[in-house]
């Protein structure tokens, strides 16, 4: 008699949530019939291992690293960088003929071209930024 009484709260809960429980049972049966339940149990164990072995510090450190890499990567995908990479690709792929060897005089002459001067300015910028961090 006592055992039946002990079951009362459980039966009350089942009765209150009958509609949802019917749905749950349907889903469980579907999972068992399709053979997915065993896979889910295995996956649950995998999740449990992660839960039991990972710490806040692991999440924190790895995400900090990923965020830093992400922020740096935005610099290499900015409009200006893409234009520069595009120009580099054009210089390599779209040259109508093989570049001619250039001597000192040819180099001095080229230094008067505005495009070359702009490129030198950019190279100096790169050197300065690198210098700040070496």
């Amino acid at each position: 008699m006592d055992e039946v009484k002990e079951l009362e709260p459980l039966l009350k809960k089942i009765s209150e949530n009958r509609e949802y429980l019917e749905d749950v049972v349907d889903k469980l049966v579907w999972l068992e019939k399709s053979g997915n339940l065993d896979a889910i149990i295995g996956f649950a164990a995998f999740i449990k291992i992660i839960q039991d072995s990972i710490s806040d510090a692991v999440v924190d450190r790895n995400m900090e690293m990923l965020a830093n890499i992400g922020l740096i990567s935005t610099k290499f995908t900015s409009d200006r960088t893409l234009m520069l990479l595009n120009a580099l690709g054009d210089a390599i792929c779209r040259c109508e003929k093989q570049p001619e060897p250039v001597g000192l005089i040819g180099l001095m002459k080229a230094l008067r071209e505005p495009e070359v001067q702009k490129t030198l300015g950019m190279l100096l910028n790169i050197a300065r930024e690198l210098g700040k961090n070496i």
Partner: protein, 380 residues
């Protein structure tokens, strides 16, 4: 050339600027559009990190980043304090005497705490809603070993609506870890008839407070803090004693909004809830905490609003119909301790349904604390 000015360098301003720069890449390159972000701070503070800073889980350097590294290089950053928005003439006046003209203005001036509005609070209270306050509270929490802590929400709306609940849960865990929880009484107070403005969340939190023996009082509206007697005096006539008072001070809109006559009594800008345009102005949009909308003053709201504003401003500049609409979407993590959390999302029509607190959501939050900078940069 069309000039877009974004006023404010917090979450809302930064994300809007970066989204706009992505959408208007060609227009900026061809000098048909220009984006300028005006702010008086060189660094951005990740404000949700303050909750962790007070428990020494994050440090100052983790939650501050130079704005110039968070902005798309196509955005001009101007460090200056705006003193007035002349909305009728589409100009912003700066403290240094200069003026900036705009074709489109995005107001992202945020909110600020005004502890001085509650007499006695500055002398007797602590808070974590700005960096200085959080650092001060960090010292106090580490020293506190015995007595009564009152966590009191002293006005609605305030930034990050769930933060007072989170800090209460974390206080419980913090002192439990230190083995002194039994010496400490924790009381949470809220101004309305439940512990949180949304029913589903209030029900969950009340249950969890009871399980943790955290006391709570509702209809609790502080009007004064008696620093000598160490009591909080309420509108309802109560006098609540404390040993440590952690206040969520009243909030107001930015001073420049008030000085420009663009806000309501508390400085919130009347804003169309769908288009996010400032009421009465066709070329002014409002994002983030600065609006008067009935949505959370939270980073996620600023993020979702920024998507809409960037889409509409760029559409207008390109001569396309600005059809994006904001639907009140918000998403908030809720830390329910140092090892578990839940989250809610909701919009104008969908109420929040918190999931059962668990460790994975806590880790998502820990992860997001680091990944936030990618959101600011417009990547995540």
């Amino acid at each position: 050339m069309k000039s877009i000015v974004i006023l404010g360098g917090g979450v809302a301003g930064t994300i809007t600027a970066n989204y706009l720069a992505m959408r208007l890449r060609d227009e900026i390159r061809n000098q048909n559009a220009k984006i300028t972000l005006v702010t008086d701070r060189e660094k951005q503070l990740y404000e949700p990190g303050l909750l962790y800073l007070i428990f020494n889980r994050l440090e100052e350097e983790d939650i501050l980043r130079d704005l110039k590294y968070l902005l798309d290089p196509q955005v001009d950053l101007k460090i200056a304090r705006a003193t007035k928005i002349d909305a009728n003439n589409s100009k912003i006046e700066l403290e240094d005497g200069n003026k900036i003209e705009y074709d489109y203005l995005v107001i992202a001036t945020g909110s600020r705490i005004v502890p001085e509005d509650v007499p006695g609070l500055v002398d007797a209270g602590y808070w974590f809603y700005n960096l200085e306050g959080a650092k001060r509270l960090r010292e106090e929490l580490a020293k506190f070993t015995k007595g009564k802590i009152v966590v009191s929400v002293m006005g609605i709306p305030h930034k990050c609506p769930v933060a007072p609940i989170e800090v209460t849960f974390l206080l419980h865990d913090f002192y439990k870890i230190h083995g002194i929880r039994k010496n400490i009484e924790i009381l949470y107070t809220y101004p309305i008839n439940k512990v949180f403005i949304m029913n589903n969340v209030a029900e969950l939190v009340e249950k969890m407070f009871e399980e943790r023996k955290i006391d709570y009082k509702t209809f609790f509206n502080p009007v004064e803090v008696d620093a000598e007697k160490k009591v909080v005096v309420t509108l309802e006539g109560e006098e609540e004693p404390f040993d440590l008072l952690i206040a969520i001070p009243p909030h107001k809109g930015s001073q420049v909004i008030m000085d420009s006559g663009l806000g309501d009594r508390d400085g919130w800008v009347p804003t169309d809830r769908y288009t996010l345009k400032a009421e009465g102005y066709d070329n002014i949009y409002v994002v983030g905490d600065a609006t008067n909308l009935p949505v959370s003053k939270a980073g996620s709201v600023a993020h979702f609003e920024a998507e809409v504003v960037a889409e509409n401003v760029s559409a207008e500049i390109k001569g396309l119909p600005p059809t994006a609409r904001y639907f009140g979407k918000a998403m908030c993590f809720i830390e329910t301790g140092f090892d578990q959390a839940t989250y809610i999302w909701f919009d104008y029509e969908t109420p929040p349904k918190p999931v059962k607190p668990n460790k994975f959501i806590h880790w998502m939050k820990i992860a997001y604390n680091r990944m936030y900078w990618l959101t600011a940069r417009g990547v995540l």
